[in-house]
């Protein structure tokens, strides 16, 4: 049990000052009309101009080395920025995966050339990446993928398809997990590699998959004899599975698994305060307490991650509890205010409710379904 216990994180004075700085900037931008708050903005808030603004502030790739354009700030300072962005519902979808996943992937496994070429552009908020993992027939069983790269003179020829790749219709590059060896039924994780694909390459077709709202966030991406130069292998050939899985812990326990519906909760509490409705506010505060406990857990995982500890199980727990919480916010809020939820409404709470209810099914599916996560947790605990 004790290996699951998480540390309590205390922010330093400098970090507190920094949080104020970030918040002031965002509030000013919002007041200026630079963006409109929305729920689930890290999936649906695509705004390259705003991403560039954040780049100018030094708030993309902020933990990365200065030689690549980063500012070498701590993971906790990045955490603060992410939290403040999501809490206010700012549009961060454009650069999201580049900042969260691809940059760290390059830093860990990339060649010097890759780092020099891509990291400075990411940091400026001008170069966007998507991640190609799932395939049309893989479902939750990622090890079953069959997109395949064949070695040729100077590189690979890529064939196959990916699906559910967030943002591929708007990104510049795609990191593709594919097979560079034949499938081995005894070790299905073997012989995979990660290749970097320029989405504008010949042979790449991006077909948006409409979300249930009709919005376009996800895509199918088809590869038909796409030529990938040697220089676009990321990390070690054959090590793709391990590299991809290592990324996952980072994406599982971040604030985006807790705060996707925060703008709704903020507005709900504001309305109940305005109405001095203690009784309903009491119910809303139960949600707030859950949020507080999740933040403490997420921060504890972040602290351990920075210390290099293995947090696989804890991160999976945060994602399971956090995404259920995100949905609960919508389901409970609708009973605490009378409204006609509508994405087109002029009334803030009605818009936030609509966004939250409609996006909720995605919360507990994306990045590994909650059922899969709970399986990971249980197996880890029983083995431990």
């Amino acid at each position: 049990m004790n290996k699951l216990e998480l540390p309590i994180f205390d922010f330093t004075e400098e970090q507190k000052v920094f949080r104020n700085e970030v918040r002031s900037f965002l509030q000013e931008e919002k007041e200026k009309g630079t963006f409109e708050s929305k729920c689930d903005s890290w999936l649906s808030g695509y705004d390259p101009a705003f991403s560039e603004k954040l780049g100018q502030k030094g708030w993309i790739g902020m933990t990365w080395p200065k030689e690549y354009g980063g500012t070498e700030r701590s993971a906790i300072e990045r955490y603060i920025v992410i939290e403040e962005l999501l809490a206010i519902g700012a549009p961060v979808a454009a650069h999201w995966f580049a900042d969260r996943q691809t940059g760290p992937l390059f830093l860990r496994f990339g060649t010097e050339k890759q780092k020099q070429e891509f990291l400075p552009k990411i940091v400026k908020g001008k170069c966007y990446f998507s991640i190609g993992l799932s395939e049309p027939n893989s479902g939750s069983d990622l090890a079953s993928i069959s997109t395949r790269a064949e070695k040729v003179e100077g590189g690979w020829i890529l064939n196959g398809a990916k699906t559910w790749t967030s943002g591929a219709h708007q990104s510049h590059y795609l990191v593709v997990l594919c097979r560079t060896e034949k499938k081995d039924p005894k070790n299905r994780h073997k012989g995979m590699s990660q290749l970097l694909v320029d989405i504008s390459s010949p042979g790449v077709t991006v077909r948006p998959i409409k979300f249930l709202t009709g919005e376009e966030h996800f895509n199918e991406v088809f590869f038909e004899n796409v030529y990938i130069t040697e220089g676009n292998l990321i990390g070690t050939e054959g090590n793709g599975w391990e590299q991809s899985m290592a990324e996952l812990a980072y994406e599982r326990s971040g604030p985006e698994r807790i705060l996707s519906t925060f703008p709704l909760l903020e507005e709900l509490v504001r309305l109940l305060k305005e109405n001095k409705d203690t009784d309903r506010l009491k119910e809303a505060m139960k949600l707030v307490t859950s949020l507080i406990s999740l933040r403490l857990m997420s921060l504890g995982v972040a602290k351990y991650l920075e210390e290099g500890k293995d947090v696989g199980i804890s991160a999976a727990l945060v994602k399971d509890l956090g995404t259920k919480f995100e949905r609960n916010v919508a389901e409970i809020a609708r009973l605490l205010v009378s409204s006609v939820p509508s994405v087109e409404s002029d009334i803030e709470i009605e818009r936030y409710l609509a966004q939250s209810i409609l996006h909720a099914p995605g919360f507990t599916l994306r990045g590994g379904t909650n059922e899969i996560l709970r399986g990971i947790v249980a197996k880890g605990m029983v083995a431990g």
Partner: protein, 359 residues
């Protein structure tokens, strides 16, 4: 169920299966009025069912009508069928013959003023959240005429329509009459509270029944998906968690169907206030549970626009707010219990199953 009833249900099912496809629903959500389907419904008498044939309706009883609405929910019928039926029923209460055009209603407190000006009427006011406002030809409303509560069926052609829509992409418009002059066949002096209450109950029952149909379909889709989809090398339904989910969906669906059927039967018998409250409350709760789990069963494929599931779940999410959410009906029931102080809870629950209160 009578043979007649089965006939009506079978033929309606056939019509909807043929004409009310997933693609049609998509098209209507994009803003296209499905004229053909509407005409088929009118011609088959579905839009005037349970209006006595003596005054030009199709006849049949409310049981027939509500079971057709359940089918409407099952097929996500993108037409103001419930609105047209209820309007026709309210008109029939006033002895009026039914209309065969798309109708809607808004029996809420509003600030609508109707003024008689020579031979015509001048109407002024705004009505919010009008379902299908942009596609309806007429709206039945309560307004003030000579400081009297008055019900009137207003033509919508000269009204300004501000378009909006609910989570299901169904029109939920604002209708503005800005000093609109119009002819009216009739106006009705009414007991406002009584008619508002009746409309609320009719609307709640219609929605509860439509939601039950949508739940039925969400269950069907979930079973079908779990049978067809393979994961980790075997059919999805072999996973124990998927089995638990399907059983939960089935339980909520059967609970909703049962309590809705009870309310329909009570409605036909004429004493139905508590039954409708129970039905809408329970179905609302089931809607949230089933929508969540059905999506979890369907995984990523279920959140795509291409898959049919969202046509059901978006309606379930939306309709639970219509004609009273869970709190509204629970409060109605609480007040009823409070007003029957000497009755025990068990007596309240079995009130129609005992001879007289035992004291």
């Amino acid at each position: 169920m009578s043979e007649m009833h089965e006939l009506i249900i079978d033929s309606t099912t056939k019509i909807l299966k043929d004409k009310c496809t997933k693609e049609l629903v998509d098209t209507v959500e994009k803003g296209v009025w499905p004229e053909d389907l509407w005409n088929v419904l009118v011609e088959s008498g579905i839009t005037t069912i349970a209006v006595p044939d003596s005054i030009g309706g199709t006849g049949g009883d409310y049981i027939d009508a509500f079971h057709i609405l359940r089918l409407a929910g099952k097929f996500s019928l993108p037409l103001p069928l419930a609105e047209t039926l209820i309007t026709n029923w309210l008109l029939a209460d006033q002895g009026e013959s039914p209309l065969f055009e798309p109708l809607t209603f808004s029996m809420k407190d509003n600030t609508l003023e109707i003024e008689q000006v020579e031979e015509a009427y001048l109407v002024n006011g705004t009505i919010e959240n009008v379902p299908w406002g942009r596609f309806a030809n007429k709206i039945l409303v309560i307004g003030q005429m000579n400081n009297q509560n008055t019900m009137a069926l207003l033509p919508l052609e000269k009204a300004e329509i501000q378009q909006s829509s609910n989570l299901a992409g169904e029109p939920m418009d604002t209708v503005i009459f800005d000093q609109v002059k119009m002819d009216l066949d009739n106006t009705y002096q009414i007991d406002k509270d009584q008619i508002m209450k009746k409309t609320m109950l009719l609307g709640a029952l219609a929605k509860a029944v439509m939601m039950s149909g949508a739940l039925e379909k969400a269950l069907d889709l979930s079973i079908q998906y779990a049978k067809e989809r393979e994961q980790f090398g075997r059919p999805l339904f072999k996973l124990q968690v998927i089995q638990q989910y399907i059983a939960t969906i089935a339980g909520e669906t059967v609970a909703s169907l049962t309590i809705s059927n009870k309310a329909i039967s009570a409605f036909e018998q004429g004493s139905y206030e508590e039954e409708v409250a129970n039905a809408k409350l329970k179905v609302n709760e089931s809607a949230g549970i089933v929508s969540e789990i059905a999506h979890q069963v369907h995984g990523a494929i279920g959140v795509t626009h291409e898959h049919q599931l969202h046509q059901l779940t978006r309606r379930l999410w939306s309709w639970r707010e219509d004609f009273g959410d869970e709190n509204h009906w629970a409060e109605q029931l609480a007040n009823r219990v409070l007003n029957n102080c000497s009755q025990s809870l068990w007596e309240f629950i079995t009130r129609s199953e005992q001879k007289e209160p035992v004291k």
